[in-house]
Symmetry: C2
């Protein structure tokens, strides 16, 4: 397993679940046709980004794991013989929901789950209303194509999450995400936000000597409550190599499938010239578990 | 104190200590003339980058703190009424040396020190031979122009260091550094390294909502041992704003003074839209103090 071809499936979503799933399935087939052995979908790919409002009816969108989505995508994983990373609105029990990534093995079985640990909440992204913070920790998922450090969206702003996945043996860092422009923000502010989103994820590649794969949704979604101007999801899905270099990047607006072949030996090579793990001052990091030090 | 003007002094070094100090003093005066209230010098600015070889005679370059350099630069701090960040080869006692940043107050007194915590060691950068790892922790230094999170070079690759400074109340993150191209590396590798160096430091600004100031030496320095092709220090000193945006950047080759005025209210504004500190999963970060988790 010296190399792996990864596929990123970026698309817009509509209120029609079946249409969204069809777009994802089609993207996976396109990626497989280009040789992908691992395909990553965007955050909450079965639905519009319903967290634009706090509406308790949206809990109807939750589903069990295993459940309908793992069955549908599991069939395709088995048919095509590839590993797929899903991002689902998990209904764990009545009144207990998570934002959960599911990794499907080549035989369609569930290799493991990651429940989003860091939950955002700001105007238009009311996730604390919907998602209980994850309780599975930062545990990478072992698959036939490598050990996957799956994280989700808001996690991408936290170097702690990437580091803990790396320390737990991740070969790759994967981020299904759903982040967009506020149409009312200035062009300069929009550019700073998108640049920051790319930069911080590239930095996780650099700090840990691992490839990073980020898959973001595209397209405009109106705010059902009409309080905000809606969200224009900025796409821009990308793959960064072990030195943070951009290997491929999708557009900021369209449905796209991006495939990149990664040399898994690069981590060993890069960590030899940049042996950051060697020199961590673990004797001096205890305060990382504090909220604030003063 | 709504704004602060920071000055970055980037220059080449020669074996002549007095010439190096003259270049630093001149740069500080230039920065002061442009309104700087805080001036940051590059790593080990009094000397050539002597860590290219392991030579015990180089311990002669060590000096006490307080000592000759704090006296010389302290006089200028007092004359110009500004805060200066020095980077010195500290001789603490016989056989005990550190790579130490010293912050001088406007009256020339020593506001505080930071001893480089992460010490590199790779061909051409034999710092483990010279520098005992710091024992002052990640403690920001309180000054009349703000609370300074001073870190040094190799520290810049560690998100833990930046985070701990932020959690301890730093208003700014400052990195005196000395990093260069191996002339034998390909142009592509050189570009990846420099980009990674910029990207990871921008990411500290983003993750913590703080401005980052990096000051790197410039110029070519031959390897006295003639084992390697020497180091071409890549300059490129820069200031990043609280969203990681580049506010100013020096060239990759010349002696330069860069001044930028920062709005210290930006941290409050940016942390309101990106409240990353709010959502840290401190219940799940305990393994940050482990070397590896498997």
């Amino acid at each position: 397993m010296a190399t792996i071809t990864v596929g990123l499936v970026q698309h817009h979503c509509t209120p029609e679940r079946n249409d969204n799933i069809a777009r994802s399935l089609d993207g996976i087939r396109q990626a497989a046709a280009q040789g992908a052995e691992l395909v990553v979908l965007q955050e909450l790919h079965c639905a519009p980004y319903f967290c634009q409002t706090e509406d308790s009816n949206n809990f109807d969108l939750g589903e069990s794991i295993p459940g309908p989505a793992t069955e549908t995508f599991g069939e395709l994983a088995r048919e095509l013989g590839l590993v797929i990373v899903l991002s689902l609105f998990e209904k764990r029990t009545a009144g207990l929901y998570h934002n959960t990534a599911v990794v499907l093995e080549k035989d369609g079985s569930i290799a493991g789950c990651y429940r989003k640990m860091h939950i955002p909440d700001d105007p238009g992204y009311y996730e604390k209303f919907y998602f209980t913070p994850g309780d599975l920790g930062f545990t990478p998922i072992v698959t036939s194509v490598g050990t996957l450090g799956v994280l989700v969206c808001w996690d991408q702003w936290y170097p702690e999450a990437a580091r803990l996945m790396a320390l737990a043996g991740a070969d790759l860092l994967l981020y299904p995400t759903a982040i967009g422009f506020d149409p009312n923000d200035s062009a300069a502010e929009q550019q700073r936000q998108r640049d920051a989103w790319i930069t911080i994820q590239r930095s996780h590649a650099i700090a840990n000597g691992l490839p990073v794969i980020a898959v973001n949704r595209s397209g405009f979604e109106a705010d059902p409550s009409q309080v905000t101007a809606g969200a224009r999801f900025w796409g821009s899905s990308f793959v960064a190599g072990c030195q943070g270099e951009i290997r491929a990047q999708a557009s900021d607006a369209n449905d796209e499938v991006v495939c990149v072949t990664l040399d898994l030996q690069r981590t060993e090579q890069v960590r030899r010239i940049w042996p950051f793990l060697r020199d961590r001052r673990i004797d001096a990091y205890a305060d990382m578990t504090k909220r604030f030090i003063r």
